[in-house]
């Protein structure tokens, strides 16, 4: 009992020392919030464009069929349209403001009325094949949609769609939830990693190592301190996500999984800081690893839609499970077949494992 009391004192002491040290740095609390929000913003930035190609339509014909074709383009899930003259469109595409120009020829209506072939010139700024192929497929989609409305008896083969979920989820609401995970990664890694590395840089780790305190208690205390520091930025992140119109469907899950994710990366950060012993190297590695690991963890959709090797690699990292759980919390999506319980259990195992590893990494020697 006495021993337990002693360990609790060590944990408490390390935790309060951790918090005091962090807050002693001017603007530390604000900067942590800022950093987390910033990463949330830049990850979500990927979705702002929405994959919709900015396109100019040159309406050389304004007849009923031409206008119907324009509407078909607008409903093809692919274009952000603006009408322009030929010269304006040319200027826009050369300036990089748009990526495609669709020119509806002057005899569009006439030729269709006479059942003659009509070519629609499409100029594409084929910077990369991703959006270029989207445009290449979107134009035939527009043609099919056009015929479905203008000549419903002519084109009889059409897609008949049945959706799994009652409504589509926009790219931004989906990605911002995945971005929450990366923001928590950065928050946990940087808060805890910098703190652990600073102890070694400043030599203050000596006092910990020479004390009779149990290393697990020391590490748990430091992690608890970093975790508590991370709670305010976490709350701000959740508030911001709700404010941009993406409230979680299951609040308890969202908060619980966020806390678990933060804990994991606080532990990971402590481990990194202890092993690397330098703040700069820790931060560089943290920032450098965050984006690739995030990219491979299925932020854009179920990892099962990727290649087999991608699936295997993704399942090695906690962000994959964190994204699965958060997408369920916010949108009630099921992104794998493991179930909530097993996904949560895996994250808990990561958390415990990283705490143990961080404690083992804390050896009784002094840094050079």
């Amino acid at each position: 009992m006495q021993k337990l009391h002693y360990h609790a004192q060590v944990i408490w002491g390390c935790m309060t020392k951790e918090i005091q040290t962090a807050l002693a740095e001017r603007g530390a609390a604000v900067s942590q919030i800022f950093r987390a929000l910033f990463f949330l913003a830049i990850m979500s930035y990927l979705a702002i464009g929405g994959g919709i190609a900015p396109t100019a339509v040159v309406m050389n014909d304004t007849g009923p069929y031409a206008r119907q074709f324009y509407n078909a383009l607008a409903n093809a899930y692919s274009f952000r349209l603006q009408t322009a003259s030929a010269q304006e469109a040319q200027n826009l595409i050369e300036a990089g403001k748009i990526v495609a120009v669709v020119t509806i020829p002057a005899d569009f209506d006439t030729r269709l009325q006479q059942n003659q072939p009509v070519q629609v010139p499409v100029t594409i700024d084929n910077l990369n094949t991703d959006f270029t192929n989207d445009i290449r497929r979107a134009v035939p989609l527009s043609i099919t949609l056009f015929y479905g409305k203008a000549f419903p008896q002519v084109v009889t083969v059409t897609p008949q769609e049945h959706d799994f979920y009652p409504q589509d989820t926009g790219y931004f609401p989906y990605l911002v939830v995945s971005a929450l995970v990366v923001a928590l990664m950065v928050l946990g890694l940087s808060t805890s990693g910098e703190s652990a590395a600073r102890e070694w840089e400043n030599g203050t780790i000596k006092e910990f190592l020479l004390s009779p305190a149990n290393r697990f208690a020391v590490v748990i205390g430091k992690m608890l301190g970093a975790f508590l520091i991370g709670l305010v930025p976490l709350a701000v992140l959740l508030i911001v996500i709700v404010a941009v119109g993406v409230p979680p469907l299951h609040w308890g899950e969202a908060i619980g999984f966020s806390l678990l994710t933060l804990l994991i990366f606080v532990a990971f950060g402590n481990l990194m800081g202890t092993l690397l012993k330098k703040r700069l190297t820790t931060i560089l590695l943290a920032y450098g690893a965050v984006l690739p690991i995030f990219a491979i963890s299925g932020p854009f959709g179920p990892i099962s839609f990727q290649t087999r090797i991608t699936q295997v690699i993704a399942q090695l990292f906690p962000p994959y499970y964190a994204i699965v759980l958060q997408q369920h919390a916010f949108h009630n999506f099921t992104l794998n077949t493991l179930g909530l319980g097993l996904n949560t259990a895996i994250l808990c195992i990561y958390a415990v494992g990283l705490v143990v590893l961080a404690a083992l990494a804390l050896r009784r020697h002094t840094a050079n």
Partner: protein, 367 residues
Amino acid sequence: MIPFVNAVWAIYRKDLAVWQHNPGILIATIISPLLFFLLLTVEVGAVGLSPVALVTLDTGASGIQMQQIFHQADVFRITDASTEQAQVLLNHLDVAAVITIPADFTARFQAHESSPIVLALNNLNLDFVNDIRRAVPDAITQFYTAQGSASPIKVTMQETDLRHRDVGLLAFMVLPIIVMMLTINGMLTNGTMAASEWETNRIKETLLAPVARSAIIVGKVLAGFTTTFLLGVVVLSFGDLLGWTQPQGIHIVISLLMIALIALFSTGLGVALGAALQRVQPVLIASALLAFGLFMLAGGISVLAFEPAWIQTIAAFSPLTYGVHALEQAVFYSSSDQFVRDVLVMSLSSLVALWLGVLMLQRRIVS
């Protein structure tokens, strides 16, 4: 002039020695692009291809033709399946959609009756869902095109590409990754190393020496530039080996020049930040925010034209926008489109960054 050069050289050598004694920093910097390259190599087979199950219930000519078109369309990773198998695949998230060619497809098509292709779609998010929604009508259009002169669809697309070649998405992402690495290394690493000199009071000796403050800044920036530039060359060479970034002829020189200018700009800004803030912690945060911010405003790993107008307007003021543009033109298209503009902007920005560094350098010790 000679004392100035001697001072620059001395500080350059001193700072380079610091780099040499911290190989971990270089390793940590290069890990991100290497991880990305590994990721790109792994993902190469899956980008843009959604996994779908194709159920062909019709054994008639049109049904088989439709099935072949889906297979040849190269827009899906197709698994042929029965209705029950397809449902299992969909429920287990092994496929994003099930496409069913109904049993009476040929009969209905030949009778000019409505002949739907049934699409059961896991509509999790619009990104891949819209890919599938585009791909199915595309296949239908190809089906009609295959009817030749009998096709009722008279409207066809006549495509003209601005660029002489398509660049795969993954290869396209390599250059922004290089720019991101240069920016982070230049600002974060050099800024922190500069700030640590103040924090540990090592700057005292330098500031008290009878050398021009500009020589101090130039020496520091040159040392940081050397390592940052070499990192950029290494990563560009790696991309070349993988067949992604292969500039030709004079454009090799242009590519190296732009990497040098980006390295100079980011290093100059980093050293200025370090000199201004003089403490490692705030520099760590400020330089990361600035580096990522400038990088994302330059378009990040996407295409700037897709972003809202207000972001495009702000991006026009980010020097990296011009650096990325020049690199893309040189590496992918062997083009010098707006080269003079891009070089001017990057050069002026680098000079401004150097000037800021000199301005921030005060001959006093931080308490």
